[in-house]
Amino acid sequence: MRAREVYVSGFGLVAPMALDAATLFERICRKQSCVREHPRFQALGFRNSAAGFIDEAQWQKIAAGFGGNAALHPRQSVLAEYVARQALQHAGLTPADFAHSRSGLFLGANKYCADSDDLQRVSRCMDDAGRVDLDRLLDHPAPSGSAFVRRVDQQTQHLADWLGIRDCISTHSDACAAGTMAIGSAFRAIERGEVDLAICGAVELMANELPYYMFNSLGALCQADLPAGEQSRPFMPDRSGFVLSEGAALVILESAEHARRRKARPLGRVLGYANVCEAQKMTSSSRDGSKYEECMDAAIEDAGLLRSAVQHVNTHGTSTQANDSCEALALQRLFGECQDFMTFTANKSAMGHSLAGSGAIEAVLSLMTLRDGVLLPTLNYEPERAEYPSLKFLSEPMRQSINVVMSNSFGFGGVNSSLVLGRA
């Protein structure tokens, strides 16, 4: 047993087509994809307009739940507060509990991305020599939502002020692993006694045209001529890239003592965590999966468990050729014969890849699996055509009580991280 056990006592989530965790979980159980044709991508004439995106109807509800005038804040802050309110309510906490405890906020996020409107607006303030007329821009301020007036840690700042956090605040920018690393950092901070209560996770809104172009130019996005909901096909032989998505999830962690003191009902536990930098190749891992294996192994060791204790893995599973083959090889080698008694899932099959957001969202779905004893299916997965048949990805939901889940996030640039989560 660890010196300080870390409990999960609440979570909140917003994903494409789901304004809360229960809705998303239910959608995936029903094998309903959250990926659709993005109207903006269609209007811009993109060859493939599939994306997971939070639509205007969702934004209206999110804005309605915001404490202030949502129009004056960047959407990242509005979304962060909406998800935090869910998490606090779930945990039976109020902002005052954070202000009066040794508390921390750990948030994953990547760069804000300007969209075409932002770019057009700035281009109108350039002179003939290509210089931006800054005074003209400042005299005609862009809307608060414009990428050029936002700071990447603005949502962290907003949440910290709203909750009155006083001890530890950090914004993690670790690409696709940032959400998992934020949860891992919160776990460590509680474990070492730095804080008693933490809110952690990620907020990511990257389903717009610039990230699309950037990732598309890398050949990372799906190019298949398939209906939107069938494009994300992790671990299938015909996978051809990820589907850009967005979303946010926040988890409340607290020390066992803190939870007991306030008679909180734990929903799960964080048992172990590891992050390893590999930098083998910018956009893909060591081809044999050895670095992913090392990361997962370190997380299991950190949890003080044997490999055989891990019953279910929520894979990173992006649906790119490189990631999925590396991860599959790593899983096969690490778990060996234990695979026979394990199941696997790839949530991005239903949601697409929300970069920093994905690790946090997948951690929440993993916690729900532990709590409810329901294993999630991997959409678009056909066992009879499996490339890695020893890895039992489910094509249908399955009811099974389990005790330990591993959740993986492997980011661009070789930022690898794994969380080991346990039942309460």
């Binding site: 804000y112 862009a142 920018s173 690409a175 950037m214 390893v276 661009f412 070789g414």
Partner: protein, 352 residues
Amino acid sequence: MNRPLYINAAAVLNAAGSECADLLGTPPVPQPLTFDLQRKALALPVPRLASDLFDRKIQRSVEPQGLRLLHCAARLAPALAALQLPAARIALTAAIPEVDAPSPCWDAVQAILEQPHKQLSQLLANTPPLHALTLLNSSVMAYVAEALNCHGPMGGFCSQDNAGLDALIEACQQIAERHADAALVVSSSPNLTPALYLREPDLADEPVYGEGAAALLLSSKPLQDATQVLRVAGFARGYSADPQRTLAVGKRVIERALSKEKLCVGDVANLVANPADRQLMSLFESTPQCLRSVSAMTGELGASGLLTEVAMTLHHSREAGAVPGYTLLVSHGRAGHWGALLLASENLEKYA
């Protein structure tokens, strides 16, 4: 901390120069910005990367703040190699608080100006693939990791000027908790672009910004043959955006940083802090220390400010006639972050 932590080497790059000794010279004169002749700042030319460490494509594809960071990191390669540690035992933490949106945004702005009739999609269709990676701070970290062979724990932070402290504390904790035996901490200031000024539009309070970078090498062991060491003796951080509470938070952060060595403020010989921060300075009114700051030489460096000050403290500790003692570095960001770092300059005989 259950393990000693030493700052073994440092590298800086800023308008004053690329050596710590340059920071003791005459302050450079801020120059008008290319995009706004009314404003002045301490800009830097884009540095050339060492071709033996970095592929040439990196020079072409990484935005200037990343290149500055890589330039500093590269200069620590010999000191890191001298530790002869397995790559898996070397952590890498980074403070890269982008504020200018990725470079392709500005390329696109320029392209729209030149070809307003073209759709954005046409303009971006030929974006070089490597520009995609500038979207993510992890790509710059990966270039460092690849070139300097750091395959241990990794962490990137972007809480603006507080990110340097976050990255440094993360590195200390990774070593203290034995997840690593050494750590490279890298940081860069924001690029001087219009976005920096758009986000801080309060002209009355506008500082002279500077471009720069700094990198530190931390280890659980001092350099071989070192007679003088700089040890990390304590650190703490806190936050309050509430003006009523901010001084209390600052005081508590300082006390916590001093507590492991059982010190009080009066025991500290040197204080490194922004002398223009009246709130911060009010915490030291009754205990006058030797106050230092390099900000007049460098301009406001954001995330690389603290690491530049640490590099300078290391430089002072190695000067002929340097007197052992404690240096307390205190940071207070405009957003409400407080940080304190206690460094002990010591003769190594103490540990013989």
